[in-house]
Amino acid sequence: MLNPDSVGSTFAGTDSITVSQSEVDAFCAVIGESDTTIAPLTFTIRITLTQFEEILTRPEIGLDWSRLVHGDQKFEIFSPVKPGDELTCNATIESYRVAAGNEIVTVRSDLHRDKKLVVSAWSTLVVRA
């Protein structure tokens, strides 16, 4: 069970993450995108979900990642992400509830480049009963 005291907390990513051309190329190839000068719309999920997992499975937070399904996902893109970008990532646990034994947690990820917000992404994650 998620520790309810963690709702509202924001966690800063430790290091900046550099978006590599080869990562963008691989993602573009999967979806058939020929323009590899810009990251595809959902590319940053690889950064975001990795950070969510790291934070939410900490012992003091306590989410069970092994029974997790993705409920919904939304991106607001303020500036396109490009290869070479150095991004920092903050994650905020926005809400948490239990319904029919399922834990439902909404987490927001804010990606910044040079201290400017480039992408906010909301994920609703469901831990199945």
Binding site: H70, G71, D72, P80
Partner: protein, 131 residues
């Protein structure tokens, strides 16, 4: 001419196990439900399923093609209502369409539809693109 109510052309993507493997590598999501049938069935799924985010990435490609590039898309969201089931040795469809829901202040809102094998796989799917 794009106006409210305009339906955009349908596009069909095809998914197979190989594409799921490539997406797993590209996204870093190596959950075995996307590659191992025995494991997927053991956790109550009908078969191997596609990553919800792969479905969303493909619908995102549809949106950015309409918009004239990823740089013109400012918002994109969806709910994962049903899984895209990908049996071994098969190619399954992901059929995407969209309707123009609103045009205002230089932005076009799209309501997106995504089905696989006739089943709606995304709910509340929408995108906002710059005109």
């Amino acid at each position: 001419m794009i106006e409210v109510g305009t339906q955009l052309p349908e596009k069909i993507f095809y998914l197979d196990r190989e594409l799921l493997k490539r997406y797993a590598d590209a996204s870093g999501d190596q959950n075995p439900i996307h590659k191992n049938e025995e494991f997927a069935v053991s956790v109550g799924l009908p078969n191997v399923i596609a990553h919800g985010m792969l479905t969303m990435a493909l619908v995102g490609k549809y949106v950015s093609d309409f918009a004239g590039g990823s740089a013109k898309v400012v918002e994109f969201g969806a709910r994962f209502t049903k899984p895209v089931i990908v049996p071994a040795g098969q190619k399954v469809d992901l059929t995407v369409t969209a309707t123009v829901a609103e045009i205002s202040e230089g932005k076009i809102s799209l309501t997106l539809s995504a089905t696989s094998a006739g089943v709606k796989v995304l709910g509340m799917a929408k995108a906002i693109v710059l005109q």
